[in-house]
């Protein structure tokens, strides 16, 4: 494993990029629902880390990247006049359904997609980091620099709200 001051080395930096670019992109996507913006911000976060590489140790790189990316995202939202509408889709299950069930399935999925998009950003990121990315509450807490209890509250809130939206059926 690399020594702390070695991340300026291109091969070491590349290793970090390969390890964290995708999780970082996903994290930003859960926040923004905008794939282009997410990729832009991933690049910007890595550029900043490269510029500051002498001050960032190998072990701290991940936390550094997520913190910088989070700040960049907040900046971006502040400066944007129009915020893109959050959009995501859920893939179909492979199971066989009767036409009636399939119709209901599709409708439920569409409703859930909309409901996730309408969650407040803070609940949505926690919910998707846990459900899609498979991160533990403790890991999410570290990433977002909040307490585990706060993560649990946001998670609970996310589910309560998603549940409400499906009430309309």
């Amino acid at each position: 494993m690399a020594k702390p001051d070695q991340i300026c080395e291109q091969s070491v930096f590349k290793e970090l990029f390969w390890a964290y670019a995708r999780p970082l992109r996903n994290f930003l996507y859960y926040k923004s629902g905008d794939p282009d913006l997410s990729e832009d911000l991933v690049q910007e976060a890595f550029l900043r880390m490269w510029a500051a590489c002498e001050k960032v140790s190998y072990e701290k790189a991940k936390a550094y990247l997520f913190r910088v990316a989070n700040n960049l995202f907040l900046d971006e939202v502040k400066h944007r006049k129009v915020v893109a509408k959050f959009q995501l889709s859920i893939s179909k299950p492979v199971q066989h359904f009767t036409p009636q069930e399939e119709l209901e399935e599709n409708e439920f999925r569409a409703r859930l997609e909309r409901a996730i998009a309408e969650l407040p950003e803070k609940s949505r990121e926690v919910f998707l980091l846990n459900r899609v990315e498979g991160l533990k509450y403790r890991e999410i807490a570290l990433l977002l620099d909040i307490s585990v209890k706060a993560v649990e509250k946001r998670m609970h809130k996310a589910l309560v709200q998603l549940r409400k939206l499906s009430d309309l059926i």
């Binding site: 400066h79 859920i90 859930l112 899609v132 498979g134």
Partner: protein, 309 residues
């Protein structure tokens, strides 16, 4: 409307399996419990947009060369360069379409069709029915990466890491042969020789020859040991369905024969066996007889009704 919850972390703790017996009993008694469970299940299948580490890394290197400007402006600038580049490429592509072959290769198979071929480094693939395989020829020397939907068998030449990306996880190897089945958010990988790394959303696993990994619903992977033939059975016109749910067996049958399968009163049953890929009536007998089911094939052989005897 639904009842309020007794405390503000209850559902979070439920997902983590941390509820007391009383709490759990109360939650399960709620009218909306099934909805909650379904929301949690379905949300796992959120689709993520494509991302290529290799392409992003190239972009990063290029951006690093450009003289630094105020940060906000630089990002806009970079973005406008990419737009300009994209427009230029589109224009070029439109003009050049008749002269040049596109560099990205998309291989697609139809119902009942298989296709085999060679990748730029001499590695080979065989793609089973209703699948696509996509890779970037111009980037091949940089990174060996293919995107698979469906099922395929690969024999990989030794060299740098060879990666198969699927919607639900990735498989990476150095040089070996392996089969990947990736449909509808599910993933199964069988290693035939060498070693294969498989990654879902949780801890990755490493397979040795004769081992199989299956992606479970929670994103983790389980491995089992198999008695292996040298290549997958579907190579030899036989679909092996040993121990698979009958619903999946019938879905596979539909893909091999362009068949609309209607199974009445579908239930969860496991099928032990397989079916031939070149004789529909035989295939239906193979599946239905041991399961005590009957079938009725439409006269044009495009749909079949399956029902209990």
């Amino acid at each position: 409307m639904s009842k309020p919850f007794p405390d503000e972390t209850l559902l979070a703790r439920w997902l983590n399996g941390e509820l007391s017996h009383e709490e759990e009993a109360e939650l399960k008694g709620r009218a909306d419990f099934d909805d909650l469970r379904k929301i949690v299940e379905d949300a796992k299948a959120v689709e993520l947009p494509a991302f290529s580490e290799g392409a992003a890394w190239e972009k990063l290197l290029a951006a690093r060369q450009t003289p630094s400007k105020p940060k906000q402006a630089r990002r806009r600038f970079i973005r406008s360069i990419w737009w300009a580049a994209a427009a230029a490429i589109l224009a070029l592509a439109a003009v050049g379409y008749w002269w040049w072959q596109p560099e990205s290769a998309l291989i697609a198979t139809q119902i009942g069709e298989q296709m085999q071929g060679t990748l730029p480094d001499g590695s080979t693939y065989q793609l089973n029915a209703v699948g696509t395989l996509d890779y970037d020829e111009s980037q091949w020397s940089e990174r060996r990466e293919v995107v698979l939907r469906g099922e395929a068998f690969f024999q990989v030449e030794k060299g740098s890491v060879f990666t198969v990306l699927t919607p639900s996880g990735s498989v990476s190897v150095l040089g070996t042969s392996f089969n990947v089945w990736a449909r509808g958010g599910q993933l199964e990988v069988v290693c035939y020789s060498g070693k294969v790394g498989v990654k879902g959303s949780k801890t990755p696993v490493e397979l040795e020859a004769g081992q199989k990994a299956v992606l479970l619903e929670d994103g983790s992977l389980t491995t089992t040991n198999l008695q292996l033939t040298p290549t997958p059975s579907w190579f030899r016109g036989w679909t092996d369905c040993e121990g698979l749910p009958l619903s999946r067996v019938l879905a596979e049958l539909g893909r091999q024969y362009q068949l609309d399968v209607n199974w009445e009163n579908e239930t969860y049953r496991v099928y032990q066996g397989g079916f031939p890929n070149d004789d529909l009536e035989q295939a239906l007998k193979f599946i239905c007889d041991p399961m005590d089911l009957q079938f009725e094939l439409s006269s044009d052989k495009t749909s079949v009704r399956i029902f209990a005897k």
